[in-house]
Amino acid sequence: MDKNPGTAERRKERLDRGIKVRTEGIYAISSWQEVSYLVLPRLILIVGLLLLPFLMPSLYWNRVISIVGIYALLALGFDFLAHYVGLVSLGGSFFIGVGGYIAAILNKSFGLSPLFTIPIATLSGAIICTLLLLPALPLRGVYFAIVTLMYPLVLFRIIEALNILGGTDGILGVASFPNTWVEQYLILSIIILALFGLRRLVNEDIGLVFRGVKDNDQAVRASGLSITLYKAIAVFITSALGCLGGAYFVHIYMVAGISLFALDYSVIPIAATVIGGGGTLVGPLLGCFILVPISELLRAFGTLRIVFYSVILLAFIMFRSEGIMVYAQRKYHQFERWVKV
């Protein structure tokens, strides 16, 4: 920690700021100060995100924004599933691949525009992913994670070996977005909606059931609720976010290939969650806005970037293991003082 000489005789006490307590109920609307305490962080986030496309130096970096958005969807889904339902998923590339191929097929074979392919791929992809993961739902911890990782590897090999869906070349010539502004603002709006939607969901009654499944699944069963059902609903939500990202991706790059099953989509969202602060939802989103651009900057170093990447991640785990947003929220909501023991 910072400067705490002689921990034996004193310890750090953390107290909620008065304004945090005052803004918890309906009284939040009693003064401008309190309203801004609540609204300002959200406003800064939204305005900041919406300004980003203007601040980018080149078209190349505008494209990076869209890619960050896709990773943010995956990271949001990962954080939701891991911290609110207790399922650790490595299925990012599974969701991206399924959503991406469906959108590409709908566009190329049925001539549907992105306006239709994206929603259809999101829904049908989520249904397919959830059904395929259904047998794995009773599995706990690392076993569920392994199954989510296995599917993209298997699909990759099947497409390669049977030479279906364009084989190793992929499906080329997928329609693109009308222009780069639509492309960026659509994904930015989607992640803002997804973030606030998920934050709302986890505090609704059904969200409490999800959290119950994480805390204590046996008590949920004793309460008359099927844990498989609620896990399936949660997996559906996460895979929908991922498939949406995948569909978006193929319309950005105008191709759906087996690289959609790349491991990056499974790993980077987890790294972003570690850096941003697990369980905060907004943290993993910001984590993507830090990690993905860094990864772009490091591209010049070729494969060596993995090394830099790992060092950054390690440093975070060791020195700020709680993550940026957990730290920031604590500083915002509480004050600290040393007390003698």
């Binding site: 119950g212 805390d215 204590n216 008590a219 004793a222 309460s223 008359g224 609720l225």
Partner: protein, 262 residues
């Protein structure tokens, strides 16, 4: 006979590896009574509850609840029929405040169909209903206790929370696994009227207990398990006079602290 029996258990057996946890245990519970199950540590009491409520699969045997065969049903289906249980090792949702713990059972199909607690119609949102249930079970309404995280509650409140979780389902039969253990004498003294009140509300109770004196204040009949087998069953005075029961409890300090008020 079966008309007044809310629960009828026939020849339930269960082995764990080589351990015979239950061997052909049969008993029945009448509508509205408080039925006690006692026995030394490791005699299979918790395993019996687990088998009845579907948490573990029994090797053989049959369980009838309200004349319906529930032998191979999932725990959540059984709970939705109104047969609920508490856990000996308490299982609250530690990261949620006490009253939000109850939102989970209130979200169950059974509670939702009832439209509130015990068919009370539209009683407001689930948060309000859970505060009502907690008050009924001994959480002071106007204190901070219902709003505290379950992880910061003392044992006494956690035991009550276990019962409250059952009540939120609007149950007809509750299987209680040692709700008195770990409580102080005064805490137990305040729990006993609660049990009596539940009985008056028409809820049938099966209570596993080591605290025999307190159990016998509320239970009309008890069954004794030993090494997974049923020793005997009957009214408390007769059962405790039984030589085999005395022998089973021999050396156990639990019996020493038991004595009849009469």
């Amino acid at each position: 006979m079966s008309g007044e029996n809310i629960l009828q258990v026939t020849d339930v057996s269960k082995t764990f590896g080589g351990v015979q946890a239950l061997l052909k245990v049969s008993f029945s519970v009448q509508q509205g009574e408080v039925f006690g199950i006692i026995g030394p540590n490791g005699s299979g009491k918790t395993t019996l509850i687990n088998c009845i409520t579907g948490f573990i699969k029994m090797n053989s045997g049959k369980v009838l609840y309200k004349d319906k065969d529930i032998s191979n049903m999932a725990p959540n289906q059984i709970a939705n029929l109104g047969l609920t249980r508490t856990f000996q090792i308490m299982r609250p949702y530690y990261s949620l405040p006490a009253y939000k713990n109850l939102i989970v059972p209130l979200f169950s199909p059974r509670a939702r169909k009832k439209g509130g607690w015990r068919g009370g119609g539209k009683l407001g949102d689930r948060g309000t209903v859970s505060i009502d249930i907690l008050e009924e079970i001994g959480f002071e309404r106007d204190s901070f206790v219902p709003y505290k995280l379950a992880s910061s509650l003392p044992t006494g409140y956690l035991k009550r929370l276990e019962l409250a979780r059952c009540l939120a389902l609007g149950p007809d039969l509750i299987l209680c696994d040692e709700v008195f253990s770990g409580l102080s004498m005064s805490e137990i003294a305040s729990m006993v009227p609660l049990i009596e009140k539940l009985q008056m509300d028409g809820i049938t109770l099966v209570m596993i207990e080591h605290r025999l004196r307190e159990l016998f204040r509320v239970a009309s009949r008890v069954m004794v398990l030993n090494f997974g087998e049923k020793l005997t069953e009957g009214i408390p005075e007769v059962v405790m006079a039984d030589e085999r029961v005395k022998e089973a409890y021999l050396g156990s300090e639990k019996l020493l602290d038991y004595s009849f008020e009469a």
